[in-house]
Amino acid sequence: MKTISLNLMVWRQNGPDEKGFFKTYLAENIDTDASFLEMLDVVNEDLIKKGNEPIAFAHDCREGICGTCGAVVNGEAHGPRDKVTLCQLHMRSFADGDTIILEPFRARALPIIKDLVVDRSALDRIIQAGGYISVRTGSAPDANSIPIAKKDADQAFDAAQCIGCAACVAACPNASAMLMMSAKVSHLSSLPQGKPESKKRVLSMVKQMVKEGFGGCSNEYQCEVACPKGISVKYIAQLNKDYLFSALGSE
């Protein structure tokens, strides 16, 4: 088992309205096969043993599919490796003696709850504003009763990979939620079930995003770099197009 030691500079903030600060910790004897969150667990065990407050961070599945974890590691959302979430980042990506600066995702619309935990309910409210389809409830409809071209199904599935982790917001110079929102808009409007509400959807989701205090897109494409699911900025173009036609055609 190969182990490394690291210097951690972690953002500590006791509550939403408290003043935050950086605190330095030494992470010793970290297994290189451990995940980033397991490394934080080791540091926290030590803090608890010494009677200190552990570092608060959000996590759930720890297998890169739920979108709960996330922090900015040395200026990169979810850390230095492409297309992984923080829980799937392994300590072999770091060298012995490295300094790691750990910050929460920063955006006005994603207020810090504690340390590295941010409140992402603004993203939920964007989804609630239009990221759904209206169907009658009851028994499940017959499979394949609506023909969908393979190409469209593939595109919808590709866009639907978004896990709503907010790395796009964290990486955007304007703290914009355009990539996450565009993934949902494109996912639903690629499918016949999503078409009837597509005009209303894009307008009300964009409206909600502005209301929540996210910034706008300046085509820097940093979201695409940060996205653990590799969502393409082509969906932002799709959203722009849908928005233009919806706004021009609205009453």
Binding site: R108, A171, K207, C217, S218, N219, E220, Q222, V225, Y243
Partner: protein, 229 residues
Amino acid sequence: MFSKLSLSLVGIKQLVALSGLAMVGFLIAHLLGNFLIFSGPVALNSYAHKLHSLGPILWIMRLGLLFMFLMHFSLVIYLVIVNKKAREHSYTVPIHKKTRSLFTQTMRYSGLLIFVYIFVHLFDFTFTPHTADNSVIDGVYYGLYGHVYNYFINPLRSVFYIVTMFAIGFHLIHGVQSVLHTFGFYHQVYTPIIQKISWGMGAFVAFGFSIIPVYVFLHHHLGWEIYVG
């Protein structure tokens, strides 16, 4: 319709893109006109004369351009304020510094320089008439041609001019491709080509305008004859 389009960030960005595109069109027409300097004073001056004789059409074009300029600038100011407000607390380590394009990052600075330069340019050429003081070369009055010629004999002005023209080039390298993305155009094959065209347009404008002071400098110092045709 308009209120919905203009109230949201996406709609505003589309208006910024539209006005930017209109100004790019103007810039290319302006550059092609400027190239007439290589054909001598008669060609350049008669082109300027024809433009001025358009009368009301010229004024409609000028007002349209002024409107586009004001729209572009004021909406960008608004967007910059909103975007700044969206992240109140900035990161300690700058985000993704490696993958951000230089041209994209410097948009607001290149834009600001262009903004200042437009006023300098209007003052120097549009509002300053061609006189015996500023438009005479070797004792002969050459109108606009002489005005431009004498202006660029001063190397300080020429350097400032060239720096500004490269700022415009930088602005276009991001701007042109950004316009298409903002209007929703994305294509696996065409988008990379558009990015190259964007580069080409930026370079064409930067080098195209910059070649004029260089030409005047060489013309003056190598003692070339003025082609009167």
